[in-house]
């Protein structure tokens, strides 16, 4: 089974490409202090809004800071936000979905109506409203993106539980006297891990997109901490004189999100080729 998965995954060029992008991003984030050519916050007023050159491959921003160095440190931020936000979403989604699918009846009805209510809110509105109250900071953003991103995972896990709970191994576990909690978390949940993993990979992509949009609007990661989104804000302010400020950070977001999406879909296709 596992070698089957590996063979199918490696044969899928897009998935491998996505995987490489994600690995490269890990490497860049991890090695940021060593590979960034400049201090990301070093202001150089002799180099304000300088275009791409040998010394500054991606140019400099309105304070003369090196854009490439800020983008390398920004990779750390988006990775952090992506993983913590998705972690929160998975935790909530998996628990609610498991409980909903396992117990059914009124528990299921209540949780599913709650999901329906959440889906009525334009997610971006909900996030902005909470941020307006809580002050924008990197931790608040991660929490809010996580708290608004669990509905899809809940539905997935619930669907898995509904079909899995009828299987013989669950009956067998019950026969030997396992309690509900044990059955849910030790016996059924590991079998639902495949769909959770796929949802998590795609979720990281979504969280990174949301974070960059929030930072772009000035409600996300606050300067001077560099993030791809808040470099783009400077790009918009200098749109008629400094195209490089708008171009490179956005390209980084596009490639990153594309990488996670390809990886996620690659995992899904390799786990179950019939789903294609």
């Amino acid at each position: 089974m596992e070698s089957d998965f590996r063979r199918r995954f490696l044969k899928n060029g897009m998935a491998v490409a996505g995987c490489l992008v994600v690995l490269a991003l890990f490497a860049v984030s991890l090695l940021a202090p060593w590979i960034a050519p400049y201090d990301p916050n070093a202001i150089d007023l002799t180099q304000v809004l300088a275009g791409p050159s040998a010394a500054h491959p991606f140019g400099t921003d309105q304070l003369g800071r090196d854009v490439l160095s800020r983008m390398i440190w920004g990779a750390r931020i988006s990775l952090k936000v992506g993983f913590v936000a998705t972690g929160i979403a998975i935790l909530i989604g998996a628990i609610l979905g498991a409980v909903s699918g396992y117990y059914g009846r009124w528990v299921d009805a209540v949780i599913m109506r709650f999901v329906d209510v959440m889906l009525c809110f334009p997610t971006f509105f909900l996030i902005l409203a909470v941020i307006a109250i809580l002050e924008p900071s990197i931790w608040n953003i991660m929490i809010v993106i996580g708290l608004t991103g669990w509905t899809g995972i809940t539905r997935l896990v619930r669907a898995d539980f509904i079909s899995l709970k009828e299987r013989d191994f669950v009956l067998a576990a019950r026969v030997i006297g396992a309690g509900d909690l044990r059955i849910i978390f030790i016996h059924i949940l590991p079998n639902a891990m495949a769909s959770i993993l796929v949802a998590a990979t795609l979720g990281v992509a979504g969280a990174i997109l949301t974070e960059s949009a929030l930072s772009f609007l000035g409600i996300g990661v606050q300067p001077p901490t560099p993030s791809w989104g808040n470099i783009l804000t400077a790009g918009k302010d200098n749109i008629d004189i400094a195209w490089w400020l708008s171009f490179y950070p956005g390209l980084a977001i596009l490639i990153t999100v594309l990488g996670y999406n390809l990886l996620g879909e690659g995992i899904r296709d390799s786990l179950d080729p019939r789903l294609r």
Partner: protein, 324 residues
């Protein structure tokens, strides 16, 4: 049919209650009292005056009573007053900005349909062709594209470099002096970029959905039957298959409404369009809580209404839904 609509409305009632509870909950996340904004900066606000202010907004009552009072006001669309210096009713501020937001969203929905459906159908019909592969590359990029970045790039290209399209507002400064035709063209020019970008986000999803839907339908028995009785391939695809593949699109459109409305915050802010999204952004920045909560509520209600319209149109188009 009426029975079906009544059933849908009954299903929506608890959702509406849920929406009000979440809005109310978000509002009370705020540390301290909402009146602090008005009193903190004023050294002459005595303790009694602050208490009076709290009593005026019913903040001295228990939480469930505050909720009931708030919901009662909501029922008559009284969303309170803005904290901003104009102190105008929140409902007025929102409703005067709603038409332009709805106009842009409806236009981009039309654009999404006009592009995504042919794209999806053609790539399904020519599965694995070059066209199909190019479309799927487009879909992948579309899913990953930060649309606000695309907005910046298009602004640089069409606004700054080529100078073809305006990049801010919905009207030129000399709008009032233009003859009717030119004024209309002026509006159109201002809307091209925002509408295109707002549509872009939904394009990828719908064309991919349309493709897989069409592939599914083509495998059905009734398509084989249509072919077997000697219909031309054209008639089979565009009459028999397309109609059935189009049905679920109605639901997808309903589901895409919250995304579109949410996206309006970004586009209206980037392009300085005086709609509900821009008002929302400005209110978030200035912490005008009554307006923030009002728009949060209206946004959710609009989504609910959109879904109702989608459900009902689906039932009109497909009699099977009404019965089951």
């Amino acid at each position: 049919m009426l029975q079906y609509i009544a059933k849908r409305l009954l299903f929506m009632a608890p959702l509406l209650v849920g929406i009000t509870i979440i809005c109310f909950g978000v509002m009370h996340l705020a540390p301290g009292s909402p009146t602090d904004m008005q009193t903190q900066m004023n050294p002459r606000a005595s303790a009694e005056a602050q208490a009076r202010l709290r009593a005026m907004y019913d903040l001295d009552k228990p939480l469930y009573q505050q909720y009931l009072i708030w919901v009662k006001k909501l029922a008559v669309l009284d969303l309170g007053q803005s904290f901003s210096t104009d102190h105008r009713p929140v409902a007025d501020k929102i409703f005067e900005r709603l038409p332009i937001t709805i106009l842009i969203n409806v236009l981009s929905l039309i654009l999404i349909l006009a592009i995504a459906i042919p794209l999806g159908v053609l790539s399904a019909v020519r599965q694995n062709s070059l066209f199909d592969k190019l479309t799927s590359v487009f879909v992948f990029i579309g899913f990953a594209m930060p649309t606000f970045w695309l907005a910046l790039l298009l602004m640089i290209l069409f606004g700054v470099q080529l100078g073809w399209l305006p990049i801010s507002g919905i009207r030129s400064l000399n709008y009032e002096y233009l003859p009717a035709g030119a004024a209309f063209w002026d509006l159109v020019k201002h809307l091209i970029l925002p509408v295109t970008l707002s549509a872009f986000g939904g394009l990828a999803g719908l064309s991919r959905y349309m493709r897989s839907n069409m592939l599914e339908v083509i495998r059905q028995d009734y398509i084989t039957t249509a072919r077997a009785k000697g219909l031309s391939e054209r008639a089979v695809i565009y009459k028999h298959a397309l109609r059935n593949a189009l049905l679920p699109v109605i639901t997808i459109l309903g589901l895409s409404i919250p995304g579109l409305i949410g996206g309006s915050v970004i586009f209206e802010t980037i392009f300085a369009i005086p709609g509900m999204g821009q008002l929302f952004y400005m209110s978030v920045m200035s912490r005008d809580y009554p307006v923030v909560m009002g728009i949060l509520f209206i946004g959710a209600v609009l989504t609910l209404l959109g879904n109702l319209i989608a459900d009902v149109s689906y039932a009109v188009a497909d009699p099977r839904i009404r019965v089951s």
